[in-house]
């Protein structure tokens, strides 16, 4: 039985697949969020240096990781859409951008509120902070460029260019703390050495990372379905859906 890899690259079949997956990811996101917040506030101890302010880490780090990860995924699908001229890939890239921009804003906002008590300033032109701010502008640039072009297919191509050019910013953000002498602290969690964090703090943070991942999948799939309906409204299968009144 040959697997038809391209079955779900058609908007119609992806639409129903995504519809089935959204509730699953939503429920997991809610459970992990509750668990992460519980561990973060009631299990993880007070930090000897930062007191309670460090608890911002449970949203700052997940948001920052998601902002970088979602941009790479967006650039990947935008690239695939550009290379293979596949509509659904470009739709998926457009669906990712708002969620990525939101996480970037949250990372900047929570970082700033963490920096004020700990560094004594809301903002500093530090390599890590500045490259993350550039990431926010890239997301906004991607979304506004696509909104400025009427024909969706041309908007996809233009968006793909800005997404692919902007990918270079992601390693810059990640390695900024090593390349430059930044105020922002270095990586306490990395793949090649043991994390330098208390286990319960690390556990709370990682649970929140997975919760934000599940949340992103659910929200992005939902937005993809809406984009599919918006763009495929001329097709028979969407008209069929609409007659049945199940445009959900």
């Amino acid at each position: 039985m040959a697997i038809n890899w391209f079955k779900y690259s058609s908007p119609a079949s992806f639409y129903s697949l995504a519809g089935k997956m959204i509730p699953f990811f939503t429920v997991i996101a809610i459970i992990l969020l509750a668990a992460g917040l519980y561990v973060g506030f009631f299990v993880a101890p007070t930090d000897f240096q930062q007191g309670e302010a460090y608890r911002i880490i449970f949203i700052h780090v997940p948001a920052a990781w998601m902002s970088m990860f979602l941009y790479v995924v967006m650039a990947f699908w935008a690239g695939i859409g550009l290379a293979f001229n596949t509509r659904l890939s470009a739709m998926f890239a457009s669906a990712i951008a708002p969620t990525g921009a939101m996480f970037t804003f949250i990372a900047l906002w929570t970082g700033s509120l963490w920096g004020k008590p700990m560094w004594g300033t809301w903002w500093v032109w530090d390599a890590r902070l500045t490259s993350e701010l550039i990431l926010l502008f890239l997301y906004i640039g991607f979304m506004s460029l696509q909104a400025a072009i009427d024909d969706p297919r041309r908007a996809d191509k233009a968006g793909a260019i800005i997404a692919l050019v902007g990918v270079v910013n992601i390693p810059i953000i990640y390695f900024s703390v090593q390349w430059w002498n930044t105020l922002h602290q270095g990586a306490s969690v990395s793949v090649n050495q043991a994390p330098s964090m208390a286990t319960t703090m690390l556990a709370g943070m990682l649970i929140m990372v997975f919760a934000s991942w599940m949340y992103s999948i659910a929200v992005i799939l939902k937005r993809t379905r809406i984009i599919i309906l918006e763009r495929e409204s001329h097709t028979a299968w969407v008209a069929g859906l609409q007659k049945k009144g199940t445009v959900s």
Partner: protein, 65 residues
């Protein structure tokens, strides 16, 4: 259990403004994003509703059908 009472929890060791300022804005962003998607979905249905009615009106008044 880190907190002995509610007010201690909200004061967050004196950093309440920063911690709850972060969590509060994050909550607003998340809820906002979900509402935006629901709103985009509702305008889509309204659009369909319109095109559906237009189609229906056209067909009902056609003399040839």
């Amino acid at each position: 259990m880190n907190w002995s009472n509610i007010s201690e929890f909200f004061s967050m060791g004196g950093y309440g403004l920063y911690v709850w300022g972060s969590y509060g804005v994050t909550l607003i962003c998340i809820v906002g994003e979900i509402l935006l998607i629901k709103n985009r979905h509702r305008t889509l249905e309204k659009q369909y509703g319109l095109t559906h009615d237009i189609n229906k009106k056209e067909t009902t008044h056609e003399t040839t059908s």
